[in-house]
């Protein structure tokens, strides 16, 4: 399968602190790549280099290349809104904007110039269905998105990311605050979504990585230790540290 994102020799520093060290990683199209590793290993920072959200941090400095379909996303005159529409992101803590469910979904498309009401309504229904949320909220689309339960809010955040019609979806521990039922709903959604999208999933839950990932990357202290198919990593990891982590001996 072809590579959607190619990361070449990526280094990330906050001030003088190296957060990521020479990362080389290819992310294949229409697959779920799960990124695992203990806290502080640079998983989230890596994810945020893929949509340039680290640009918000004044002290962040990046070397190396990140290619999206062969295009360097750190090119000087690249439009960040354009990039972030192509590479959508779902955060660990679901944060709907303080607007209605409908308004949350159409926020991105409206910014992109979609004004046709019918089109926006279609998009809302389609994305909420894809995020397995439609049945629960279809009668109250115009109530506030912040009133939903945690699991529903996270699925709303997934839906509003889908509404951007992105190509890549980054998920940063999307289930960290959720109960098992909501978690399985989101995993179910991810499984469907990978048919159309490339998904990068950061997770602290190795079982989740084993359940939904096609490939797994193991990060430790800013280094990419091992990359391989989910099956290989969880049955015959080649690095001792990977084995220690997935068997729960540290981290």
């Amino acid at each position: 399968m072809e590579d959607k994102i190619v990361v070449k020799n990526l280094n990330l520093y906050f001030d003088t602190l190296a957060v990521l060290r020479s990362i080389n990683l290819n992310i294949k199209a229409n697959e779920i790549l799960s990124i695992i590793g203990p806290a502080n290993s640079g998983k989230t920072s890596f994810l945020r280099t893929l949509n340039r959200l680290n640009d918000l941090i004044p002290t962040a400095r990046i070397t190396g290349e990140v290619l999206l379909d062969g295009l360097d996303i750190y090119k000087k005159d690249l439009s960040l809104p354009w990039l972030r529409r192509k590479v959508g992101m779902v955060f660990a803590l679901p944060v709907p904007l303080p607007r209605s469910i409908f308004e949350n979904i159409v926020y991105g498309p409206r910014l992109n110039g979609v004004t046709n009401k019918l089109r926006l309504e279609e998009l809302t229904e389609k994305t909420l269905k894809a995020a397995f949320l439609w049945d629960e909220v279809k009668d109250r689309l115009h109530t506030s998105g912040t009133k939903l339960s945690g699991g529903q809010q996270q699925r709303l955040c997934i839906a509003r990311t889908l509404a951007l019609e992105p190509e890549v979806i980054l998920l940063d521990e999307p289930c960290s605050g959720l109960d098992p039922l909501s978690t399985s709903k989101i995993e179910e959604a991810l499984y469907e979504l990978k048919k159309q999208y490339t998904i990068v999933l950061v997770t602290n839950n190795t079982k989740q990585a084993a359940r939904v990932g096609d490939n797994v990357a193991f990060f430790l202290m800013g280094d990419l230790i091992e990359y391989g198919s989910t099956e290989q990593i969880f049955t015959v990891p080649s690095d001792k540290r990977t084995e220690d982590y997935i068997t729960g001996r540290f981290g």
Binding site: L53, F91, V95, Y107, G108, L111, T161, L164
Partner: protein, 283 residues
Amino acid sequence: MKSRENLIQFGLLITALSTIVIHLLIALFIFQEGLPIILRVGINEFVCGTHWSPQQGQFGIFPMIVGTAWITAGAILVSLPLSLSCAIYLSEFSTPKVRGTIKPIIELLAGIPSVVYGFMGMVILFPMIRNHLGGAGPSILSASIILGIMILPTITSIAIDSLQAVPYSYREGSLSLGATRWQTIRMAILPAAKSGILSGIILGIGRAVGETMAVIMISGNSVIIPNSLFDPARTLTANIALEMNYAVGDHRQALFATGIVLFITIMILNIIANVLSRRGVEK
């Protein structure tokens, strides 16, 4: 030990209550002194009457109400664009270091005595208005400009605080949905900070309505209903301050009654500001 703690608690309660009592006493005093004349003249005649000549027994404060309204509105018009853009810049674009340096300086503006502002108005603003726009100088325009600068720190600093109180995740959420920084500010951050900013504006209005010294020095103080920006005007506060030291009898009571009108106005503004900022917290 227990009884000592109770004693301390009781002492603190008394001190806390005393501030309320002082307020109540002031209110009571003003109302007691001013209410009789309002009742005698009639509320309508007092508030809407256009003639203020205490020697002839005419007590209409409408010109002062209009003057106060014009000057306050002008001050908000002058202040709002400046303070909002300043707050947006400091909260959303500047580095924490710059913000940490500039914000205290802005707040320092609030500490400059108002007579200094009045003096600056007389020395700098009067000649400018006289030479470039006409009129004598003391006018609604000059008072609005100076008052606008005086309430700048109030509005700016409250607006910065409410913008900073908007969760960082709103910014990230909006940006990651493909919004530009400006779209994020306009569509996600400002709406979320709206009630806080509004309460800042209302506190600013309250300051402008209550300001006395600077206004006396630069607004001209004529008791007329102003027709243009270049007309002089007198505010409610100026009316009290200018005439109190020689007023006796009904005249003195009428000044207290002016105070009642001011008191009620400021109370209403503060209540609105309180309600708004509380609504902001709940969200």
